[in-house]
């Protein structure tokens, strides 16, 4: 992931949904979408966290201009 983003841990992109954020990321750093998604869905091993909350809506999760979006390994819980 870091190599895809040129070593940067935080990048700023626009988008109203997680899908748009990923699309814009992919435009700037080719390969992002393939790392995170399969068949227009987040891979089951990837979780998206928007403003500190793990979203259960995946690609459809809405984000705002100031939102912080994180991609994390999905947790197995108990």
């Amino acid at each position: 992931m870091l190599s895809l983003a040129g070593g940067r841990e935080q990048v700023s992109v626009e988008g109203r949904t997680v899908r748009e954020v990923i699309a814009n990321l992919n435009r700037a750093h080719n390969g992002f979408r393939d790392r995170l998604c399969r068949d227009d869905k987040l891979k089951p091993t990837i979780a998206v966290v928007v403003d500190g909350e793990i979203s259960s809506l995946g690609m459809r999760q809405k984000v705002s201009l100031e939102s912080e979006v994180q991609f994390l390994p999905a947790m197995s819980g108990g």
């Binding site: 992931m1 790392r35 990837i46 793990i54 947790m75 197995s76 819980g77 108990g78």
Partner: protein
Amino acid sequence: MSNASKNGNGNGKYKVIGTRPIRHDGVDKVTGRAAYGIDTHLGGMLYGQILRSPHPYARIRGIDTSKAKALKGVRAVITAADLPPSEADEVLNLVEGSFRLKDLRSNILADEKVFYQGHSVAAVAATNLHIAEEALQLIEVDYEILPHVDDVVAAMRDDAPLLHEDLTTKEFGEDTGKNSNIASHIQFKLGDLEKGFAESDIIVEEEFETASVHQGYIESHNATAEWKTDGQLTVWTSTQGAFGVQKQTAAILGLPVSKVRVVPMEIGGGFGGKIPVYLAPQAAILSKKCGHPVKIVMTRADVFRSTGPTPSSYVKVKLGADNSGKLLAAQATIAFAAGAFPGSPVGAGAVCVLSCYAIPNGLVDGYDVVLNRPRSAAYRAPGSTQVNLAVETLMDEIAVKLGMDPIELRLLNAAEEGTRRVDGAVYPVVGCRETLEQTKVHEHYLAPLSGPHQGRGVATGFWMNAGLKSTVTANVNEDGTVNLMEGSTDIGGSRASIAMQFAEVLGLPAEAVNPMVGDTASVGYTELTGGSRVTFATGWAAYEAAQEVKKILIGKAALYWETTEDEVRFEEGDFVHSTDPEKRLTFKELAGHLVDLGGPVVGTGAVDPNSGVGGSFTTCIADVEVDPETGKIKILRFTMIQDAGTAIHPSYVEGQMQGGSVQGIGWALNEEYFYNEGRMQNASFLDYRIPTCLDVPMIETVIVEVPHPDHPFGVRGVGEASIAPPPAAIANAIYDAVGIRLHELPMRPDRVLAACLAKEEAEAATANG
């Protein structure tokens, strides 16, 4: 501390919440009438048994079931050939993780290889249990024994025997293509690690190992299945989640979920271990083959050998702090033994390892490793206890080196609102600091120790808690009571805590609500009972259902008074006419009129709250006495201080804290999977030593209440965090008592003694030198 309260009074603002009513299912459970999975009995029922591998790793060259089939009383014998074929990359997504269907099926009935001692190979149904047992001995399996690996560090080496030819290491969505027992590698990074360590005045670093431990629930795994000729399958079982069993069973059998109905029976303990499916698919196929319901109950030895222990672990942690005790940098390497198939909670371990503190620079690497042991399963705060031992022992070392009080050191670094965790998440309002402040002033912490070889230790722990989908349906009865149908199996009093949240909204006594757990055909989708989520999420669904009931009843009251809804208010549990104060109906009175007021009153709550990163923090104090001649540890006094958000039923909150504490004590002192040549040697409650009531004192509790900012009643969930810190607290207490540091769980008497003797020798050498 401004909005924190103590000991479960719910901040004094509730009527039902914070009280201690008798649980609704209590009488059935103290009279022996409650029906657990093992109690299932159906007409014409046959008994199933599972043949299991005696070898840790072997290729199956052939299975001959003919002699077993010929035994009088045997009705069916099945093997992996009776399961649907698997595509290589078919995946089943569950909230507890994503699993290759191929692996799930292999765990149910091994096809090409057995991956661990106890791996299911064949199953038999017969007219009684003893005949089924005899039949197992008549099944001939031709094994080609393979070299095995059962240690997590050894399994990671390049020259280790490989378990799965098609398994390659995954790194955050990328397949490295490298064939290995390392199923995945995850990494979290925050700040500038090198700079953080360079600026540190004090650096501590140690390696730790923990043994596999079992959840140890007293009821064995069980499943009874009936496959009717119309193709409809019903499964009665003890499970933490009926819908999860439905999904897993349907996927393994290649059925649509609608063909599988799962009836959750009362469940005799789970702690994470009754999330996976172990027996339902075999019982189902056997039932299909013989046209009768089939019941399978595991023996205790099979429970140990074949079902989810928590992973054994290797954890290395390095902490850097300045001279004031402020943490500046932290690095952790974590390897978890997933067992035969990928899927350990190493991700959770990687989140939890540095979760209690504000640390600006951090790096965490986690490895999920397969080896020849049973597929691991969740166990109470999965992954947190293993990593807690490492960090909390090192925190104690820093406190000793700096001459600081260990609670002051933790307070100086405590995570709080706005703290960014190493995985990037930022905490909302959390109660870490509040548990530490309560610890500092607790009578236990201030009391003197009373004799030689006694010591006191503290540790702080964390679990993230889950949200997830839950459904509750409320039906109002004409006598003013409410039937509440919910989907969360009740493993420790959750019927009461859900009913109480419902009752709170409507001003009802807890006893007026009759909570029931529905099966997959009678209640809306509800995720598992786990992740400390039931009181939080299903309680939230109950709150929403109550809101809907209230809204409908306001309409009914308006209809009754022949006015409009905006003329009716709900106050103090009564429906009141806004302009005519004479008109006032209690809930019960209004319910009594419902027969003439149109359609039935049904409220539904269906929620999917985000997990958030609130979580629950806990701190514990342990006093121990060490017998320096034998190394035996006695727990003299033990106190657990935990943030519950809001305690709905304080007795059951205390119960969770006490139960988690004692499981943590067992993990610390005596519990372990003892392996020899890949075979578990101690697969019984005799030699797998869970604590008895003579091993522990009363467990004191302090419930801290820092309400969850989003939950309607501020609930956080309290089921899990309490298991994490006891091993470290006990390790620190042992250090305080006799000056030795143990880096391996369990801290068995022989290890304690060896460390005591080594210390004496070292001191003698120093004195002589």
